[in-house]
Symmetry: C2
Subunit: 429 residues, 2 copies
Amino acid sequence: MNSSVVDSADRQSTRARLEAMGRAARAAARAVARADTGTKNRALRAIAAHLDAQRAQIAEANGRDMQAGRDNGLDAALLDRLELTDARIDGMIDGLAQIAELPDPVGEIEDLKYRPSGIQVGKMRVPLGVVGIIYESRPNVTIDAASLCLKSGNATILRGGSEALHSNGAIAACIAAGLKEAGLPEEAVQVVDTTDREAVAAMIGMPEYVDVIVPRGGTGLIERVSRDARVPVIKHLHGVCHVYLDDRADRDKAFNIALNAKTHRYGVCNAMETLLVAEGIADEILPRLAAAYREKGVELRGCERTQKILSDCVAAGEDDWSEEYLAPVLSIRVLVDLDAAMDHIARYGSGHTESVVTEDYTRARRFLSEVDSSSVIVNASTRFADGAEYGLGAEIGISTDKIHARGPVGLEGLTSQKWIVLGDGHIRE
Amino acid sequence: MNSSVVDSADRQSTRARLEAMGRAARAAARAVARADTGTKNRALRAIAAHLDAQRAQIAEANGRDMQAGRDNGLDAALLDRLELTDARIDGMIDGLAQIAELPDPVGEIEDLKYRPSGIQVGKMRVPLGVVGIIYESRPNVTIDAASLCLKSGNATILRGGSEALHSNGAIAACIAAGLKEAGLPEEAVQVVDTTDREAVAAMIGMPEYVDVIVPRGGTGLIERVSRDARVPVIKHLHGVCHVYLDDRADRDKAFNIALNAKTHRYGVCNAMETLLVAEGIADEILPRLAAAYREKGVELRGCERTQKILSDCVAAGEDDWSEEYLAPVLSIRVLVDLDAAMDHIARYGSGHTESVVTEDYTRARRFLSEVDSSSVIVNASTRFADGAEYGLGAEIGISTDKIHARGPVGLEGLTSQKWIVLGDGHIRE
């Protein structure tokens, strides 16, 4: 056999394997969907107990991944994300306990009302069914994703990064043991155990078995999955977040928020990437802010007007306005007013999170209504756009889509609502 | 030039035209999104006034479509759907008035609460942006779709059936005049005026300009759109609805509901297509029901056990269980119990609407929780699964998807929720 025949046979066997996993997930989904809150919580706590008991095995598996990673020349940042220290295992155990504590969204009934016909109509929250999650190297995502899907009554198929294969295998064994102990089918959480890339193509191409795909990782992965998926995708693409300092801003709030939004953490999607400043406040606030940014080592790239105020600021190119730096770099633009700021955001923003700082009632109200982003903020830092800060308890990601879930996606984003009707023999006349 | 060059040039020009429409829609969407309720309602009423004033022009345009339809040998049912009688124009005018009366979903704020950090977090309902609607011959859909999208703050691109080209053009002129009168951009509602099929491919392939596609029409159209779309799709595929008569059903309720669900109207998606009967009640209820069905001219196709009870019933083939008849035909299956009925529904159903008839509390509760369909009903006819019956006022379709909107989709289904945060200078520590 020549190699392309072998490749094609491998691809087919990966596809067949994923299809078998899909069928098993679909069957398990009915059992998880009707599992009561107590059963699901018992499974979560049992998984935590197994993680705790299997620390040695997990460390051994992770050691193998780390060694292979070093041998393959993975960079330090990737190796750091791959490593499962004792503290990270504690983190996974705590996460499971927290999700067990969250209210169960499944079965919640809303708006049950009588209609003139005499029927009662309302909505019941129900699981989506089978959730496919595709992620990169962090093995702790395996527990995060599995526990959120389980609590929301979904079956799940997890496909982690190939570098974490052994670590994920060890974690998967704990999940399976925990599910079994609680009387739930082990197929409720399945971890793909092949590094064949064809597995991703198979997962996103079987709408009969998978109801939604959540890709978590770099832009390349997310764009590829979105382009090729035949299944709905909940995705988080870019976070090009803006803060607009209005000329009617309280100066101290403006200073604090602009500083916090950029420098609290750099590598996060809700960090500010572009600062927009009203011309009426620029001369006064920019020098003070620039000094503070410089002290933190933030590189500033400004429009022409910004450069006139900050003489050592480099020129921002057109590309800077749509760049997600995820680094100590900030682009700054001086604009006429609120409308110009909203135009800039509509043109260059990614629909993630934008904040206005102003004391003007009408401008705050307009920004809140008119800016089309997943989080719109008045007089607070963009860093608040986060599932934990919003009270969701935990999040599977932040969606920059408009359909289904938008912004931080917690348990509720992994569910849907069906209509329920209660009658007493009612018929349509 | 050979014909394939001409074809390719035509395709390119259609694509360029649709892209220009997309760009214009995206620009208009911001204006419609921030239009207040009064402005949108004035536009709806102005469109109604123009329809009323332009009856002669609409009739003339429709006459041309009808003549072309007759010349092209369209069947009587299609010609009937195409025709715009005075009564149908009245219907469009009434529809506009009704939608003007509905509460505006845009800007509605839910769950605004203080968080421990001191920020207030809530959700604001906002338009989706640009909605693309692809439909078949009925020209009155043009008004239904345009008015629902306008009221929910969306710009829309409408692509009707090619047989209705002139009728839709006359209606589009009324819409444009009404929008202008209310001070809204005419590009807020655009009707595609080419019959080139490439227009559909272009519409579903530009996620930068179109946020969601709603296909309305036959299964072929919907499957094609779902398969090829690069934009999220809200779709209604099949309605294979079930009624399960439990052995603890009240006999009269069972009889009335089973009769109504099948015979109230045949060509509708929420009509029952398969009747499931518990073995404990089959001998008693089936002969009585069969007599009533026969009187209405309903053809019965049964499983073996049904055939033993109803000697003149033909045998149902495996295909019958997943068939959407949309006709006076009914498949009947006798089953052991509720679990067998729910298994049948999970295997053959389309996730549209299912009803159980029972007086048993636990069985009713289980059916309600465990059946995974867009509407789940206890002791009432499947025919209630409808936007008007549910109090939505009007619907753009019934979604059998689980993502985003499920079941009857009204104004709310054409919106999304963004997170809003109100602070007072808050920063993350």
